[in-house]
């Protein structure tokens, strides 16, 4: 059971209030029609599976219903930080 800080409610809440929503920072191609099948396939299906630091998107489903980003360590399950959609994690260049 993770504890996750919701950047909107500004509180740390139990995992059961949240839904995982996949890898973060996957932007929809601006012109899908011009994507090759391969490009589109990469966008649709290919995801990172790192051992360690992972950028994820979560939604506070049973709370404020807002999506946000989480940096989580897949080995220790530590939640390093949470930050808003459209932002980059603290400490990134």
């Amino acid at each position: 059971m993770l504890k996750i800080h919701c950047p909107y409610c500004q509180e740390t809440r139990e995992e059961e209030e949240f839904h995982y929503s996949g890898q973060a920072h996957i932007a929809r191609p601006t012109d899908p029609e011009s994507c090759s099948d391969e490009d589109w396939g990469n966008y649709l299906y290919f995801r990172k599976n790192p051992r360690g630091r992972h950028m994820e998107m979560w939604v506070h489903a049973a709370g404020c219903r807002k999506f946000f980003n989480v940096v989580r360590d897949t080995v220790t399950y530590e939640v390093e930080q949470t930050y808003l959609i459209g932002h980059v994690p603290a400490g990134s260049t």
Partner: protein, 1006 residues
Amino acid sequence: MSQSNRIPGGRCVDYGSEINFRFNGRSLKGYKGDTLASALLANEIKIVGRSFKYGRPRGVMSAGSEEPNAILQLGANPASQVPNVRATQQQIFNGLTSRTTNGWPSVDFDVMSLVGLVAGKLMPPGFYYKTLMFPQFLWHTYERIVRRGAGIGIAPTEPDPDRYDKINRHCDLLIIGAGPAGLAAALIASKTSARVILLDEHDEAGGTLLYSNDIIEGLPGIDWVKQITAELNAAANVDLLTRTTAVGYHDQNFIVAHERRTDHLADVAPAGFARQRVHRIRARHVILATGAHERPLVFANNDVPGCMQASAVSAYINGYGVRPGKRLVLMTTNDNAYEAAFDWIESGGESAVVVDIRTSVNSELLKRAATAGIRTLTGSAVFEVKGKRQVKAALVCGLDAERNALIGNDETIPADIIASSGGWSPVVHLSCHTGIKPDWREDIAAFVPGATNQKMLTAGAVSGDFSLSAALRQGASAAATILADCGFDLEDKATTSCQEHTVGMFQPCFHIPHRKPTSRSPAQFVDYQLDVTAAAIELATREGFESIEHVKRYTALGFGTDQGKISNVNGIAIAARSTGRSISETGTTMFRPNYTPVSFGAMAGRDVDELFQPKRYTAMQPWHEQAGALFEDVGQWKRPWYYPQTGESLQDAINRECLAVRSGVGILDASTLGKIDIQGPDAREFLNRIYTNAWMKLGIGKCRYGLMCGEDGMIMDDGVTACLADNHFVMTTTTGGAARVLEWLELWHQTEWPELEVYFNTVTDHWATATLSGPGSRALLAELTDLDLDPTNFPFMDWREAMVADIPARVFRISFTGELSYEINVNANYGLTLWRRLIEVGEKHNLTPYGTETMHALRAEKGFIIVGQDTDGSVTPEDIGMEWAIARRKQFSFIGRRGMAREDCQRQQRKQLVGLLPVNGDVVLPEGSQIVFDKPHQLPAKMVGHVTSSYYSAVLGRSFALALIQGGLGRMDETVQVSIGPDTWETAEITASVFYDPKGEQQHVQ
């Protein structure tokens, strides 16, 4: 011989309160405060079970949760049975009924013990696999015989009468273990404003102080404990929970603890009271003060009843007022265990002999022993126990310098208790739960908790320092560190003082040599619960199992419900020696949750019976119940399935309901459909992007069917959306898809198109929906509304605001049955009144309530899909012949458009939705049936599709189905074979998927 082993002075028992209990049918007496184990020992019950594999008699070994032998079945009746109860942790109460779990036909004469006697040496690890596999076909016969003699306890055969509970707790500091270290920590923390929880698995706080002779702050340890617990109980910021075991330590300091609230009071909990409770604890910081388990030594026949841990001897004498025998032989590797011999003599024991494997022993200690009249032998060991059903004597002999061989002559020392101490194993289990392997410390010959990323500190024996002063000091300092870290002010930093004896060197030793090789000596048990011997471990390593993980799995070492608490280190040490490696090279196995067994009831808590999961109801539920509806689960919703009349079968009722809608008028509770209110200037643009079809021109007062796909182009939901005003829409979703679709809309809005001005809110529960359907619906509705129902003024796919039965309503002229229909939506507070008025007025129209089964049959006759039934996440709009719902000319590349253009979505021979007419119209094809083009000559055959929906149609007078079939739309009028059972095939003809009123004249009826 009632309580013949009882002595005065037991600190935990109330000699004034006699308790009557039963064991294996016998009535016995004990005192309040006794554990079942102490009460049995008081009554001189030696044999408390038969061993799992060899059926050997076994006695109480310990006084705590590490007990491998005294694991009993409790319960006075078939409903209150509890297997797997450690007698050392179960307090007795009047009427307690217990019995041994192994032993057939009885614990005193066990058939399996003959197996053990004869086959003991013939049943090495892997015996069953090696022996009983040939001939293979006989395995099931063997298995029946083997299983007859096996088994550890029985499950209750009637529903559990008890209730269970879960509770969530939060604290700044959780202290696990209320021994000296835990108490010292709690004492410091109690004087701050920190929120503190202190847990202990025993009936009372105190840990080793309950039976030791220590002096703290000038007080006998037990008095100090009483003083501290009184202070803690009075402190508002401390919760002290006893009989509460921390069973699991999970990520981010989430600890699950199991409290036995009434197990010590009665067979069944008092009314309304939860018998057991699971505490789900979130702690900012944890202090692990779980102490250590004493490790017995491994020697021949070390499982004969009367063999126990040295510390358990003290625990029974001082804690419970029970001296389990008269003549003690105690074998030790350390000074600490001598206390048991002193306690023995002081309590009036006839004789005590200490056999110390060390050659050099603290002279002061030897002097104390001599003064007490205790004989000591140094550089010696007990290498074999004499006695079968109970200890008769110890065979003692000198040891060589490496402790690998016996030297000199044997001496036989009469005894009825043989205690041993091979040192202490810190209770590292909880730290292992966090994924951290423990570290081996050669100096103390024990594993200690490894470094962890949890906010956890250790204090006391668990950290590998076994002295009382260290426990008190570390407990206090761990608490101080944490409290300072949390920012609490410490007013009192005083340390707790205690008196201690100086302690001599400890000599690591695990396995006492025998005159014969291990494989030929009498059995030397390592894991008592699963009958794993030293010989078995050596054999495993000889057979090539070198990794300790493999040794464990091959021999079952540590696999019992005791998780090998007292056996693991001995087992690892024997494996290490046998493979010529050090213990740290050999490594350890991990401990997993749960630390001690947790009942299923406690895990389920309140989520049982009616509360197993939410049952969602519509506003009309009271009427449905009165009308005798049967209900169908749709997600968590309870929806009326059908309304049987007296004597009707399901099919009779469905036929009647279907025909009523096709020829008259029916009423359906459609309140469960998901409904999402959409407002904002960009609402229309948003719908255009999220649906496959076009939305820019939908006028106020109009409705449109929409199809929603994922980015992969597969159908994910559908429903009708109505335009309420220029910037205001209400979307309907499938009943099961409501929450998913709302989250989907929010996902796209929040993460991709935040610039669109639109808001989504669920109104599923706010609107109650009564659907009138059938050619007679207009006449009925007209009686209850002033709304102009003239089809030219209120055509199909329009909606109107109106008063219906004096209630403000939105009426949608949309149809899922293919008949003229009005979906009447009102604020759900008026849903029941609306429904009752419709039923009342509907009587003269012969209004027929219908349920989901009829709704499904009627929509299938029209070829209307149900997402999730006729589609499965691999179906595109084109696959179900709904190209018309794809607006390819929309400017924005709507969700799913690019996905459905992928090569795979465009290929020939995709599965497509078609109708199926079984040649035999009386046969309703089971949904999910697999389809082939031709009856196969041999199996397996390649399947080409499956039946998605299948019903008997009352109006057609025959069965029909919908199916997904490879290239189906190009195979009209061809026949297929549908597998409906082993070697049973039905021939069916592929047809269009609309079976009734293909031109849609009924729903458009003028």
